[in-house]
Symmetry: C2
């Protein structure tokens, strides 16, 4: 049974890394003594070691030991044997490129579908969707595909932002960008604001946190859904 | 001799489409009675016909007749025979996908290097760089490559925005994104603010408009350059 925690962000303004969800993660990872961390997204270009150290500091607060996947000789075996998995934020293109390069897409899908608890934040949440086509990141490296883990039957847009009505900037709003996505793709998109997450348990997909999320369905006006809404009707 | 006008945006806040550069375009396109418009980037999913109509209305003010490339049976011949070319903004991935699909990359490079005057705005400016890896757009379609026209020896970041120091949003700033680009790529990037453009004449590349631009070179601190700066030292 799937057991997935899809968070918009690792960090909310004015609080430490993973702090705002640490109590929930303690429950979510209650059966795990160790977690396999995948540092491939490298926010600000941080090294795999430094990123793993940062994550290790956070997970030590809930008595979980962190192992970076880059320290294993065989990353596929590391995924197979993991008690729990965390994929952190950074650049979604770099993350996707590295997952394909290390042949990790299929094995990740398999173990997560079979119940290995998975936490994603930001880029690590983007890859839970059907494709990475609704990432906000800069395409700094060319991955062999935009197809992602497809753990949920829609796409994620993390760090969702409402249009700034006072802005004089002429770049596209997030809503315009997702509207453009729907000119070429039909799957729904969930705009997850910072502080929100999706909790997937088997076939159930529930919006968590205190904020509403914005749902974009093909050929429909976008709409808000409240916390605790069951989202498994989307496809 | 190359003759290229690379604009950050088509439109500045509070003014009509192309209005802020129309006087300059009149001079730039002084020898052209017609312009070939490439509407592939489809901002907000606008149709090729509607987009061409919008452009046609703007160019009619400076007595230039607009032809959409989608109305030609042979787009490669249309590029070869064009007196002048304009590639408008929208989604850079959609634009790039369509340019490859229509086999237009090589012929565009060739005619522009041979002197056909070229105007790009936003997505149409992104493709003047080495790659589209510094676009701000959402990757809503998977192009066969991120390589672009390479008309200048660096990358463009149009609609460049300074960090908002009051923001509580945790998504990456533009500067952070470009810094991440330089973890995987070495070419310089020019952050062109809305209202700025680059004027390329042969080997000369001059910053135009009233604003400074931000230059990001590999392994160097970013810096500002003033209008009228010659940028052909970058590579």
């Amino acid at each position: 049974m799937k057991n997935i925690f899809i968070a918009s962000t690792s960090t909310i303004h004015g609080s430490g890394y993973l702090d705002y969800i640490l109590d929930d993660l303690k429950v979510f990872f209650k059966d795990a003594e160790t977690i396999l961390f995948i540092p491939f997204a490298r926010p600000s270009g941080i090294s795999h070691d430094h990123y793993t150290e940062k994550v290790s500091n956070a997970f030590s607060k809930i008595n979980i030991k962190t192992h970076g996947i880059h320290t294993f000789e065989n990353p596929i075996e590391a995924v197979k044997n993991a008690e729990a998995i965390f994929v952190g934020g950074g650049n979604t293109f770099v993350l996707t490129y590295q997952l394909y390069k290390n042949n990790l897409i299929d094995i990740l899908k398999k173990v997560i579908k079979n119940g290995t608890p998975y936490l994603g934040t930001s880029a690590g949440s983007n890859i839970c969707g059907l494709t990475i086509k609704t990432t906000n990141d800069m395409p700094i490296i060319y991955p062999p595909s935009f197809s992602a883990l497809a753990l949920v039957p829609f796409n994620i847009n993390p760090h969702y932002m409402d249009p700034d009505l006072n802005s004089k900037h002429m770049g596209e709003t997030r809503e315009t960008r997702i509207h453009e996505f729907h000119n070429f793709n039909t799957p729904p998109v969930i705009g997850l604001r910072e502080g929100s997450w999706l909790k997937v348990e088997g076939h159930s997909i529930i919006l968590k946190g205190s904020l509403t999320a914005r749902v974009f369905e093909y050929n429909k006006a976008p709409y808000e859904v409240k916390p605790e809404t069951e989202l498994n009707y989307l496809k």
